[in-house]
Amino acid sequence: MSELTREQVRHVAKLARLDLSDDELDRFTGQLAGILDHAARVSALDTDGVPPTAHPFPMVNVLRPDVVKPSLDRDEVLACAPDARDGRFRVPRILEDEA
């Protein structure tokens, strides 16, 4: 489970949209392998037929009425943005296959 390669780490970094330096790649490959080794202990437990817990306190149907509430002020919203133009957030060009 813990045979983590540098290439796998590079792939995961791409999924996470996170640039890593060569140095970071080396360091993380070792560290992640160690942590995963420890984390893999969970597989020692027999969990056949055990349902996963996503919420510690099971609740259902938490709903709100379909009633309009005030939105934020646009100037305040765009003031937070690194770059804005014409009432919109400005980003460098988007490549089609970015997703």
Binding site: K69, V77, R88, V91
Partner: protein, 535 residues
């Protein structure tokens, strides 16, 4: 599952030119799915924007066409710390869809995060449903064929990006601008099985789906505004084969007609590739309305890894028997039942009824006009001068004819027409009563659609009213017959052919004398009487 949906490109599809509209839907490969030894296999993924007042997880208004970034809040902007709370009306709408398409509604459904990066998605994950959707295993019968609908699930829409520079094309743009007004708008994704075998069937399925969604009031289903988006998964296989070919997914189809064209294009393209010994690449393709082709957007060869996991900020939805019973009790008439009812009640053809239900709002418009017509007849004494009579069929003929044509040309919707349904009833009444002819009525309709005046008013303004008064028409005929005694004699002596010719001459003279405004039915009858009877 759906791949990430990149933003709609900023350049709206150019309006279709007349020549394209007239072009046949099909390319030479053939109309049905079985030509040339190839079989077409299609599944449709339909995204429907739900017509709620607010977004899926926050109280921001769900409105189309607002100033950019004005309908946004911490939740739909994905600000750090903000949390979603599910809109109860979205659940109700999903349950309506569950009823309408005979879905199973599992005891519990769960939201999941679909993780991928795209600038139009504020959290860089889409809150959607994955392995536990709200609706499973439904169907829709289309022209006697049952299409299985795999699932329907709730999810949030993305924002909109505009690409600036480079001619608006995404790749060459200098930069892009993002508006998050649409981010978080509630969507229902309805995914069919690959049960569809022809482009006609795909169109019929999409059309029936749209009519049903409209009938149950969950969406305004405007394909041109993007409130209903149809993506087509298309593949071909050798006839008789059980397996499936590699499929492509075609996006950006903005009308039912384009859906048919895009599927036909894809089919021909794939067959060509395969027959040349090539291989179809699994990918997303973009339909271009202008060149009538699909274009590769991105390859799916490197599979996406969306890292779905249950959304920890939301709790499961568990529709109660009470919730489901309330939805069932409030279900309106569905299109199939409505078609049957209209065919029976109005004595119209199946085809007419289907046409009415094929355009959002058109059947409602026709029904309102028929009601108005019935009211006119009931109140004959009070009715607009000379407007009485007429049948639902007359209404339907106008609606499916001139009015549908007008909507096509202008891209307008029935609800937005300046001609109110009652005004159409008035027009039908004017024709039925003989006040104007059908040809005159076409002109009147044109003017009414253009400026919103009532038909009766247009008739008055233009002095169009036909002369139907028997004594004045009678004296005109008397004058003509007297002035043409020779012709009358020839008529009476002639064979059928000669009589017909003379009769046409007398009618022409009468109409000339009446400046075209004589009532042709009355004139015909009087002419017959005077030539045959006591004349």
């Amino acid at each position: 599952m759906t791949p990430p949906e990149p933003s709609t490109p900023s350049t709206p599809s150019a309006p279709t030119t007349p020549s394209e509209t007239d072009a046949p839907d099909t390319i030479e490969v053939g109309l049905d799915g079985h030509a040339d030894g190839w079989e077409l296999v299609v599944g449709l993924e339909v995204h429907v924007e739900l017509a709620t007042a607010t977004k899926l997880f926050c109280g921001c208004a769900n409105e189309f066409g607002q100033e950019p970034n004005t309908n946004v809040c911490p939740v739909c902007l994905g600000l750090p710390g903000a949390l979603p709370v599910l809109n109860e009306l979205v659940v109700e709408y999903a349950l309506r869809v569950g009823e309408a398409f005979h879905f199973d509604v599992p005891a519990q459904s769960v939201f999941a995060r679909k993780n991928y990066f795209y600038p139009d998605m504020p959290k860089n994950f889409q809150t959607s449903q994955y392995d536990e959707p709200i609706c499973l295993g439904g169907h829709l019968d289309v022209d006697g064929v049952r299409i299985t609908i795999t699932r329907a699930h709730m999810e949030e829409d993305t924002g909109k990006t505009t690409h600036v520079g480079g001619g608006g094309r995404i790749h060459d743009a200098d930069f892009s601008l993002v508006d998050y007004n649409r981010a978080g708008v509630p969507l229902l994704e309805i995914v069919s099985e690959p049960d569809i075998r022809s482009s006609e069937q795909a169109k019929a399925y999409a059309s029936e789906l749209r009519a049903t969604l409209e009938a149950i009031g969950v969406s305004d289903v405007k394909m041109e505004e993007g409130s209903m988006r149809v993506d087509a998964n298309v593949s071909v296989r050798r006839r008789g084969s059980d397996g499936f070919g590699t499929r492509t997914e075609t996006k950006n189809v903005n009308s039912i007609r384009s859906l048919g064209r895009a599927i036909e294009y894809e089919r021909a393209r794939q067959i060509e590739v395969l027959e040349a010994g090539g291989r179809v690449v699994q990918e997303t393709r973009h339909w271009n309305e202008n060149d009538g082709q699909t274009h590769s957007m991105r390859s799916k060869e490197e599979a996406y890894d969306y890292r779905y996991f249950p959304e920890p900020d939301l709790v499961p939805v568990a529709p109660t028997p009470e919730m489901r019973a309330a939805v069932r009790a409030a279900m309106p008439e569905l299109p199939a039942a409505r078609r049957d009812r209209l065919v029976a009640a109005w004595a119209i053809t199946e085809r007419d009824a289907a046409a009415l239900l094929g355009t959002p709002g058109l059947a409602d418009y026709a029904e309102a006009a028929v009601s108005a017509l019935e009211a006119l007849e009931a109140l004959e004494a009070l009715a607009v001068d000379g407007a009485r009579g007429g049948s639902p069929r007359d209404i339907v003929n106008w609606v499916n004819g001139e009015i549908a044509g007008h909507l096509n040309e202008t891209g307008s919707s029935p609800a937005a027409l300046s001609l109110a349904p009652a005004a159409l009833a008035e027009l039908v009444g004017l024709v039925a009563a003989g006040t104007i002819s059908r040809n005159q009525a076409k002109d009147v309709l044109g003017e009414a659609l253009a400026d919103g005046r009532r038909p009766a008013r247009i008739v008055t303004d233009r002095g169009l009213a036909q002369v139907s008064d028997e004594s004045s028409l009678g004296s005109v005929i008397d004058g003509i017959l007297a002035a043409n005694a020779d012709a009358v004699a020839e008529y009476r002596a002639g064979d059928d052919k000669a009589r017909k010719k003379k009769r046409g001459f007398f009618m022409g003279e009468a109409m000339k004398a009446l400046a075209g405004q004589g009532n042709p039915q009355v004139l015909n009858r009087l002419l017959d009487e005077k030539l045959e009877g006591n004349g």
